[in-house]
């Protein structure tokens, strides 16, 4: 007779933090975590389609992709990568603080995560503004007069460069949307932590929110070299 079966039989002395359809806390936690992982698997396929489109067009129009990529600021991109990596650290510290019952550290790290997320979006908006000013936004007013890196006097085809910028805006835009949702989630987690809802026994929402945040970080880890660093040496 396992512990879970015993716990199921003893339904009368009910743990208030345990939903009635779970036998024990551990099972409840694992079910939530698994649910988040399955959602993240669907996110992998969702972003995977865009990465696939990117790879196909990058192969077709490599010169234009390099020329367009070099109009982006790799310094801002690298800064944003560092910001997200730091936010992933604060998230994992928040999870740790929740698991070990350190309330001040938990709240502090959640606040830091939200601030770093906003810094990321702030830098992203500076980059977007520059794209609008330089007419690098796909559409009727799109203009592109750049030479293909490594090819003297050969101008990039603006139609093909436009595909790069379309992929740039879709991929970074959907990533930014995930960041906005993530910041919303963390504001909610911060409010719950402030009310003292999380204990070393029950902190699953912090852990699940953390999984989501780290996933969004992983997407950016791939977006940064793919979008900002094409043929930078030429």
């Amino acid at each position: 007779m396992s512990d879970s079966q015993v716990a199921a039989v003893q339904g009368e002395v009910h743990d208030p933090g345990l939903r009635h359809h779970f036998a024990e806390r551990e099972q409840q936690r694992d079910a939530s975590s698994l649910g988040m992982w399955v959602f993240l698997a669907t996110e992998v396929m969702f972003f995977g389609g865009m990465f696939c489109a990117y790879l196909i067009y990058r192969r077709m129009y490599f010169g234009e992709f390099a020329a367009a990529s070099q109009t982006l600021s790799w310094k801002l991109g690298a800064t944003n990568t560092a910001v997200l990596i730091c936010s992933s650290l604060t998230v994992v510290l928040a999870v740790w603080a929740a698991q070990t019952g350190r309330r001040t550290m938990l709240i502090g790290n959640l606040v830091l995560t939200i601030i770093l997320g906003l810094v990321f979006l702030g830098i992203k908006s500076i980059e977007y503004k520059e794209k609008f000013e330089r007419h690098h936004v796909p559409g009727a007013s799109f203009e592109f007069h750049e030479i293909i890196p490594g090819h003297h006097q050969q101008y990039a085809n603006p139609q093909h460069a436009q595909i790069f910028f379309a992929l740039y805006f879709v991929m970074t835009g959907l990533h930014a949307l995930h960041m906005i949702i993530g910041i919303g989630l963390f504001i909610y987690l911060l409010l719950m932590s402030w009310k003292g809802r999380f204990t070393p026994e029950y902190n699953t929402p912090i852990e699940i929110g953390g999984l989501y945040w780290h996933f969004v970080d992983i997407i950016w880890i791939y977006l940064f070299p793919l979008l900002y660093l094409i043929d930078l040496h030429k």
């Binding site: 698997a41 995977g48 990465f51 192969r59 510290l93 780290h214 996933f215 040496h233």
Partner: protein
């Protein structure tokens, strides 16, 4: 989480954080050097190492008590590989005929 003492996992988190920042610096430096056809391969390898570090240590895939988590991660990667691998092998071989 459960298998380790709390303080040792804190050390791991900071070590991974340093490694991720170093990886970012390395990608930027590698992109400035002409490695002929290998620039993209180097950039993607570094990105994959960074993503693996995040998944294993920050997302606790390593040491996870739930084996189903690993199954979900592996099947997600498997289907991503089918998506990218089969699409790219199609486009890469279209000029053969």
């Amino acid at each position: 989480m459960s298998a380790h003492s709390p303080l040792s996992s804190l050390k791991t988190y900071f070590a991974v954080w340093i490694a991720l920042l170093a990886g970012t610096a390395l990608t930027v430096v590698a992109a400035q050097i002409d490695l002929r056809p290998f620039n993209a391969a180097v950039a993607l390898t570094i990105a994959t190492i960074k993503a693996t570090l995040v998944a294993l240590f920050f997302m606790h895939v390593k040491g996870s008590s739930e084996r189903l988590t690993k199954l979900v991660v592996i099947s997600a990667l498997f289907f991503l590989l089918i998506l990218l691998g089969l699409s790219m092998s199609d486009y890469a071989t279209r000029s053969w005929s």
